[in-house]
Amino acid sequence: MNMGTLLDIRNLYVYYRTTRGYIKAVDGVTFKLADHEIMSIVGESGSGKSTLAYALMRLHDPSQVYIRGKVIFNGTDLLSLNEEEMEKIRGSLISIVPQDPNTALNPVYPVGEQIAELFRYKQDLSPKEAKEISIKLMQRVGIPDAEKRYYDYPHQLSGGMKQRIAISIAIALKPKLIIADEPTSALDVTVQARILELLLEVVKEVGSSMLMITHDLGVAAEVSDKICVMYAGKVLEIAQKDEILRRPLHPYTRALLNVVPRFHKSEKRLFPIPGSVPNLLSPPPGCRFYPRCPYRSNTCTKKEPRLIEVLQDHWVACSMWSKLEEVDF
Amino acid sequence: MVEPLFITDVDGKIKPLLAESYEVSSDGLVYTIKIKKGVKFHDGTPLTAEAVKFSLERLLDPKVRVPGRHNYLVMKKIEVVDDYTVRIYLKYPFAPFISLLTGTNTGIMSPNSAKKLGDKITKDLTGLGTGPFKFVEWVKGDRLVLERNDNYWGEKPKLRKIIFKIVPDAHTREAMLLAGDLDMIVLPPAADIPQLAKNPDVKLWFSNASRTMFVVINTMYGPLRDVRVRQALNYAVDKEAIVKKILFGLGTPVDSPLPWFFPGYKSLTPYKYDPEKAKQLLAEAGYPNGFEVTLFSPNGRYLFDKEVSEAIASYLEKVGIKVRIQILDWPTFVASILQPPEKAQFQLIFLGWGVGTPDSHFQFYLRFHSKCFTPNGFNFHFYNNSEVDKLLDEAMKTLDPEEREVMYQRVCEILWRDCPVIWLYMQSYVVATSSKVKDIIMYPYEMFGLQKAYIEG
């Protein structure tokens, strides 16, 4: 099937206005996402991945945030739309699976109603029809005796159950793009696997693309076709999953992989990355990873490496990439 | 509604009402009173001597709460001579006795209805009286409704029905009158009298005498013992300005201790406002730079009482007397002035004295006789003047009106010179009605009669 481009982000900048200056959360990001493609955006907290996600949906308060660049989605630049047009797209063409279902659902409304309201307000269905579809959706995402659960309040359900509700909301209008903002990080480990499985199942069934935002390379490896590594507001490397896992070209990606314990490799020791994420108020010149990069050289401080396609569909932003010895992972 | 045996008419004279006539025994101990014939109570039973005996004896019954009961204790025995004559025996000769029988609480009630009502009498007065209007309904704190008594023995009243509404706030009363909710109101807000006077559809009625206002002087307190100081106080206060500027003209400065229609009234030279003379008198008495006094005043009891007290204080300050004002609510005020001499914390009290029973005895005896120091009387001044005591005791006994007149005149002269009080003014009693209301009788003692009144058109 032809893999047309669903989402094309070019030089996206997202700065937060504060009394002490601008925080450059997303500092020039470019990447594409094809139809039905699942791409993970991996990065430590504070790398700007969530900011990116919410910027796509234009959910930032304009008075607090400065956004520039292009976000071509399904042929139209989302940043140029006015609020009404954006409102139509949200929920129907793009939807989000929230990070923490406990705070995402409205505590004073039954969960079923929070699903049904999508159909009532976005598709003008009658309350009865909306309720029926919502109950079918709840059953689809594996919620036992959905008719009764329809009227439960969020505080009466477990974290996992609430995330299933959130997923059913995300897929309700069969959107083209689902953004999953660390969907499992707020859940306990036993539930995480099943929720991921469910998410993949429904995304494939609905045929939408997915942007999986996570800080856990394991999740990314398991879920996505393509992986994009972000650090301090910049994209450092993008490539197909197998390609990037087998041959990480950027020192940061390599360091990330060293941190992940491998079952089939009997590593004795894991190598934590020294130092910490730079201050985004006044980021260091040149490559942002420079202070923590074991392979750094003086060129890295002068010129800011641009993201270039060094191998077939394998992009990296590091001037020293070719010098890294082949490492087979 | 309920009529007494005698009544003080508009001219101040005592005239028979339910009584026909009366004779007094030579020793002044026995009063024989003839009752009008053919008078019926509202419950239809005839007015008889028996009813008079019943009503007067009630006044002596300790279980019944009677304001000013001690005056009536002078009656020893009441005897029914025949259906229309009753004889009253007194314990001692008491010249003003007849004036006692003009008080509203000496009203004659029908024994038959009184027995039927029992102690409901404090709420329901059906059939009790003989007056021009009959009792219909009384809702405490809200309204009292009266109806015309068609078989009234006297001139038939023109008004069919009277509804008294209880509206405590003067401004609200005034607003209701102007809005037409009421035809008549008592005591409109004094500040608005000039405006009301100019208002075409409002008519103002003034009584030519009522409550006299004065400042009690505690004559046992240091500097106030000296008559010159007390006179200085009288010169220091500008009564005309207070009446004109604070009471808006609703009063007349007094020229004698007695209202004009009392026996023994004699117009005396008033203490003109003369601060220099006051200072001079103070210096003579040895207080060139004044002294400190405390003035007690009620709040809301008399017309602009607080404001007048403040004005008096500032007048006294102008002649060097420093005044500490204590404005007290009524119960505290009453409690703190009824103190024996040694416990009195006041030197001056702003006080008023109503007309009540129209006989000079009641104006002077309890207030100036040395036997009546508070708390067992109303001699707040702790005034002790043997000549006045002698005159008052004498006047109480002598029956001959001329002789009493001379005695009370003498008392007036002594009091006026001795100044146990700062003489001020007589508050006018004002009633405001819509211009359509006619023929209201304004008695000279804060009361009005509606028996002749009517509403035009």
Binding site: S95, P107 | D169, S336
Partner: protein, 314 residues
Amino acid sequence: MALLRYLLKRLFGLFLVVFGIVTILFFILNLTPGDPARLLAGFEATEEDVETIRKALGLDRPLHERYLRYMLNLLRFDLGNSLRTGTPVIEEVLARLPNTILLAVSSMSLALVIGIPLGILAAVKNNSIIDYLVLIFSIIGNSIPIFWLGLMFIVLFSVKLHLLPAGGSGTPLHLILPSITIAIYLSSYIVRFTRASILEVLNQEFVRYAFSKGLPRNIVLYKHVLRNALIPVLTISGLQFGALLGGAPITETVFAWPGIGKYIVDSIFAKDYPAVQGSVFIFALAYALVNLITDLLYVIVDPRVKLEGGEESE
């Protein structure tokens, strides 16, 4: 079962509070100078008359004995008789209670009608001119001395324009000025409280999530946000309504509105102990009941609240 247990617990608390108030007031008032017996006997009465009345009223008994007798009568809702009018206090208070309730209801509903929309407007249009103006209104609202505001209304509407009565009760016209006066004061609190509450809810995660579902803006605002924001507003209004049941003593005095507030003020001035104690007792009862009802309403409006009486939100 939980409801019953909860009610019993609250009723006991209520009894304790009311008992406390009446006791404090009993001792406060009975220590005041001024002698009710003399007041009742009247100005010219003799000492014996005063004595007979003092005995009749039992004012000559020692204080603690009077206290016990008063408490026993209280259980039978016998609040004794007013010294001024002699009628049972319970009758006088109940005759005036409807007026106070009427005034409380009308001023509270007016305050809510003014306060809540303004509060929402200010919160939604945060940092705009409107937000600023609304804040100015609310600060002015609770800086104006109520009794002075009442007088100014009287000057304007009764004296100058002769539109509205200067005071008293009877027709609905009489109700207008007093309720507007109180409503302005109350709404200034409600506006600020609603605004703060909405601002707080707007910061919460589920609002952003609701927007991410692409729901129309005013659905998110008036359905999701408002429902959450109005819960604390309910509590505040409940408390204020309870306080209003004491009648706004000063406002009622200014407008001569025959409510409990004016009755309490007049009784205190006339040293009419039974009247003061009786009316405060009834008020305390009403105040506690209103609090209880507000808490119960709380359970209905906010599903997270259990009946242990404590708000147990996640």
